[in-house]
């Protein structure tokens, strides 16, 4: 894990004791360095990338006047930052501020000539204290960020549980309803077959939802362990189409455009089928007025591509960044009633990625969406 960059400009630092401490440190440094004969200004610079930015200065308005400086353009600054040693430049005395063993900035005092040894020692102590404070503040701020992140995740998880419960209740209601009517014997002969196939479809839907949730939980903890086997990719396409085909209403139709020859790959067949089933299910859900869902497949020496194209409501550009995030359902007035856990696309892309591929999307609001799965052949 990389050490986080010092964030002196973090609101947490600006608004709390740290910024007061910086101010006091430069005031003290200026006082230590000054004598009756000469006033010396002090200022504190923060290293951000290869630039030094002034955090605070002892003289009024000094913060604006000092920098920013591009370190490589100033030999003495460069030397102090690179070596981590005190440098006496032509017009400044530069003391590195170290945070966790590296230079995070500089405490600078003007007009170094005539600065006595005791004053120099005190200035170095001040720089050390500032470095320590910056390190402490950064770790407090990291902890606060982490706490906020886990609070947010907790909130999202409990929202997800509500959504999941709701999604499971929909098919469960149908299963219970039809099975109660069957056991009461109140369904006419002609309706019984329909009832049984509805029950089977809804049980299948529940099984898919449950495995989607389990796969997501597994991804969180151990990552996906693939069961690789040689597979014809077209077989995967047919598996997914066959899994969802029976559940299509009269308004939707799958249209396949696949090459005649097989596309041999070594993949996790079950996972890839899940991925494609999720994409097809998504295409159906977001084409509320029906239409064709085109499934295309092509390949060259390097890459196989599966395209799922619908003519549905498309994707709202402002929300498209949520598309593949966990639990990230795009909720607009047009989509708020559409069922879904917000896991399908997330899982689909993770599956593509563990196979070394990815899913790309192109869409326009109202103009349908195309999801392209790219999988490397070697």
């Amino acid at each position: 894990m990389s050490t986080p960059e010092p964030r002196w400009d973090d609101p947490l630092l600006e608004d709390n004791a740290s910024s007061a401490l910086f101010k006091e440190a430069v005031t003290l440094a200026s006082r230590v360095a000054s004598s009756e004969a000469r006033n010396r200004a002090a200022w504190l610079l923060q290293l951000r990338g290869e630039n030094l930015h002034c955090v605070t200065a002892s003289e009024p308005g000094g913060t604006q006047a000092r920098g920013p400086y591009r370190v490589p353009d100033h030999p003495s600054l460069d030397q102090a930052v690179t070596s981590g040693q005190v440098v006496e430049g032509p017009s400044e005395f530069l003391i590195p501020v170290q945070m966790e063993g590296r230079v995070a900035g500089l405490l600078v005092v003007g007009e170094p000539d005539g600065l006595d040894v005791a004053a120099r020692g005190s200035l170095m102590t001040i720089a050390n204290i500032v470095g320590f404070a910056v390190g402490q503040a950064a770790s407090v701020s990291d902890l606060q960020r982490e706490a906020e992140r886990s609070r947010r995740l907790e909130r999202v998880k409990s929202e997800f549980l509500n959504i999941a419960a709701h999604e499971l209740r929909s098919p469960l209601g149908i299963i219970r309803g039809y099975s109660s009517m069957l056991s009461e014997g109140m369904l006419p002969e002609a309706e019984r077959g329909v009832a049984l196939s509805r029950i089977a479809d809804k049980a299948e839907e529940m099984a898919r939802l449950i495995s989607e949730m389990l796969e997501t939980a597994r991804l969180e903890t151990d990552g996906l362990e693939l069961e690789l086997e040689p597979v014809d990719l077209l077989q995967v396409v047919h598996d997914a189409v066959n899994a969802l085909g029976p559940m299509l209403g009269a308004d939707h139709r799958f249209v396949l455009a696949v090459p005649p020859e097989s596309i041999g790959m070594v993949v996790d067949r079950r996972r890839l089928t899940t991925m494609l089933t999720n994409l097809l299910d998504n295409a159906v859900k977001y084409s509320p007025y029906g239409g064709e869902i085109e499934i295309g497949c092509e390949h060259d020496d390097r890459l196989a591509t599966i395209r799922v194209r619908d003519h549905g409501i498309g994707i709202n550009a402002e929300q498209s960044h949520l598309l593949f995030t966990r639990f990230g359902r795009l909720v607009t007035p047009e989509t708020s009633h559409i069922r879904g856990t917000g896991l399908g696309l997330y899982l689909a892309r993770e599956i593509a990625r563990v196979h070394g591929g990815d899913i790309l999307v192109s869409a326009t609001p109202g103009g349908g969406s195309t999801f392209a799965v790219e999988l490397p052949l070697v």
Binding site: N162, A165, H166, L168, R169, S170, L172, G173, I174, R176, G177, Y178, S180, M181, E184, M186, L187, E191, R198, K202, G249, P288, P333, E334, S336, H337
Partner: protein, 131 residues
């Protein structure tokens, strides 16, 4: 007398709507189905149903908005409404009851037979509100 009772189901889930319709028709009610909030409101005004089942998650207007408008309309104000949803959260239940729903039923916990009984309860002369 049940022949005279017309039930409006405002429900976008086709499978659920068909299932409930089957049971209600078998029990002698006549059933019309509104597929979204707008259609439901229109049918509530045009079809003068005796009773309404209302889903909450609907395309366009959600169930609460529909209920508010039903209560605001002179022609629909007195039609008894039962919310039939898969949301079980107490705050939603409370909101629905405050808006004047007669009952709040969770679909997964309500068999079609129980559903049919709830119409009977709500439309039998004794259960009619006295006002």
């Amino acid at each position: 007398m049940e022949d005279d009772v017309k039930v409006l189901l405002i429900e976008d889930d086709v499978a659920a709507a068909e299932m409930y319709r089957l049971r209600l028709v078998a029990d002698g009610y006549s059933v019309v189905i509104g597929r979204d909030g707008q259609e439901g409101l229109r049918m509530a005004a045009d079809e003068t149903p005796d009773f309404i089942y209302l889903d909450l998650r609907l395309p366009g207007l959600d169930g609460f908005e529909v209920l508010e408008r039903l209560r605001a309309g002179a022609a629909t104000r007195h039609i008894p409404v039962i919310i039939l949803t898969n949301y079980g959260e107490p705050e939603l239940r409370e909101r629905g009851m405050k808006l004047g729903a007669l009952e709040f039923l969770v679909k997964a916990d309500t068999t079609p037979a129980q559903l049919s009984e709830s119409v009977e309860r709500a439309t039998s002369p004794r259960a009619q509100p006295s006002t």
